[in-house]
């Protein structure tokens, strides 16, 4: 060797030569972590980029839009007839995921102690938390799709960009305090309720006084019903431009777009909000929900395996439980950002 003296003087260099030989002989773990766990980390890294791409797309479209649905208005309903409770239901959903993450850490800890019963117990609680989250998401989607008529291509949640006051169904200017609005105030366009059952489903609970909006909707619905009875309009075949009424417009999909007068004296009508919102919401929360669903399935499989004594026989500290644990925490981690982007900001 040309640099004989240098190599002999450098003890570390010499040691390095030897350990390189050892590394290449196999049996060593790079990063002092098992292959499976390392690959789980890199899978999660790639998944993080996928989610980041979606969330950045949401941000870019939101920045490009003159108005955007206000989250505390869009997400203000909860089960059991709770209305006007901004963010409460999604906060509950966040807690479900946090708690299921905590029970997952406990399962991993019990696994490290080779405590089979403990692993199964804490994994079971994790499954309950994940399934609870999915149930909540199912309710949220059902409410948005069937009650509020949001879809991938239609967003009935709009936002005012000017100050003004709504008109009554007969075209007169509303005197109600609640019918005044300012920029940034959100609204929801309702589908006309003229079906055979004649009911307007749960827009107000019996026994309390109607709000200004509910009063308007009741009037508008009866005007539309009268027009149908008089054969003036056909709900199944509305003209492309919609039908004009003094206080509102019935658009070609049968939604009631309430008219208003702005401070500048111009008459306008509610329109749909930015179309991209529906697609972004369903796609991103759906993709996260799919991660939760597959996580629950794998949790159940690994819980059953743990219960059957498969991992106890391996005596490797329940490594499978650690791997699904990493995945499950990642699902919680993504929710932190979905929660931030869709609901908090």
């Amino acid at each position: 060797m040309a640099h004989d003296t240098a190599v002999h003087e450098d003890v570390h260099g010499h040691g390095h030569e030897e350990s390189t030989k050892e590394l290449w002989s196999g049996g060593k773990q790079p990063f002092k972590i098992s292959y499976g766990k390392l690959m789980m980390w890199y899978f999660l890294l790639s998944d993080a980029f996928t989610f980041a791409g979606f969330l950045i797309a949401y941000g870019a479209l939101r920045f490009s839009s003159p108005s955007w649905p206000v989250p505390d208005f869009v997400f203000s309903t909860a089960p059991f007839g709770i209305h006007h409770a901004p963010l409460i239901f999604v906060t509950f959903m966040s807690f479900l995921l946090i708690i299921s993450s905590v029970t997952m850490v406990r399962a991993v800890q019990e696994g490290a102690r080779e405590n089979q019963k403990g692993v199964v117990f804490w994994m079971f609680l994790t499954v309950v938390g994940g399934a609870g989250f999915l149930g909540c998401q199912a309710w949220e989607w059902t409410n948005l799709i069937y009650k509020e008529c949001m879809s991938v291509t239609r967003n009935p949640f709009g936002t005012h960009t000017e100050k003004g006051v709504y008109l009554n169904a007969d075209g007169s200017r509303s005197a109600a305090e609640d019918d005044l609005f300012k920029p940034g105030i959100g609204y929801l366009i309702h589908h006309a309720h003229v079906d055979d059952h004649g009911g307007d489903h749960g827009h107000h609970d019996e026994g309390h006084e109607l709000t200004a909006e509910e009063k308007f909707l009741a009037d508008a619905n009866s005007i539309v019903s009268a027009s149908i009875a008089g054969n003036k309009i056909d709900m199944a075949n509305l003209p492309e431009a919609g039908v004009d009424f003094p206080g509102f417009r019935l658009n070609n999909e049968g939604f009631i777009e309430r008219k208003f007068v702005t401070e500048a004296g111009e008459t306008g009508a509610q329109t749909y909000g930015p179309k991209a919102f529906g697609a972004l919401f369903f796609f991103i929360t759906g993709f996260h929900g799919f991660h939760v669903l597959s996580g629950v399935v794998f949790l159940i499989i690994i819980m059953l395996n743990a219960g059957s004594g498969l991992y106890a026989a391996r005596k490797n500290g329940y490594e499978m439980v650690e791997k699904i644990g990493l995945y499950w925490h990642f699902v919680d981690l993504v929710w932190v950002f979905v929660f931030l982007v869709f609901y908090l900001l």
Partner: protein, 141 residues
């Protein structure tokens, strides 16, 4: 695992639960404050909007750090693994800056584009481009 004794590790988990829960509640409170649900009129002040958004974003980043370092045990992994997972995500910071700025530019050009769409094309001007074929220019007349 195997760091500290079992009782300490168990306690740390419940402390983590409390930290994440408390931070989430603070985030929701700040968000509701920003939207004017706690004190009316706050939604009209732009510095409240931006300040609250910044606070919420920082708190979310803290939650992410807490989950990765404590729940996923990144704190106990070797630096090589830590860096190989965390450094690539730093690229996303640039992604956010670039795309949000781009989105903003689309928003600002909305009106300009609407105006331009109304302008009749001037047929006297031929498109100048190296790659355009002569036939294409002819058919444009």
């Amino acid at each position: 695992m195997g760091h500290g004794n079992y009782e300490d590790a168990k306690r740390a988990v419940w402390v983590g639960c409390g930290v994440l829960g408390a931070v989430t509640l603070i985030e929701v409170a700040v968000s509701l404050f920003q939207k004017g649900h706690i004190i009316g009129g706050m939604e009209d002040l732009s510095w409240v909007t931006y300040g609250a958004a910044l606070i919420i974003a920082i708190l979310s980043a803290y939650k992410a750090y807490y989950i990765i370092y404590n729940f996923m045990h990144m704190a106990h992994e070797v630096p090589g693994l830590r860096m190989s997972v965390l450094l690539p995500t730093a690229l996303l910071i640039w992604g956010m800056i670039a795309f949000f700025q781009e989105g903003n530019a689309w928003g600002e050009r909305r009106e300009v584009i609407k105006e331009r769409n109304k302008v009749e094309s001037d047929k006297a001007i031929k498109p100048l481009g190296m790659l355009l074929h002569k036939e294409l220019i002819k058919s444009d007349k």
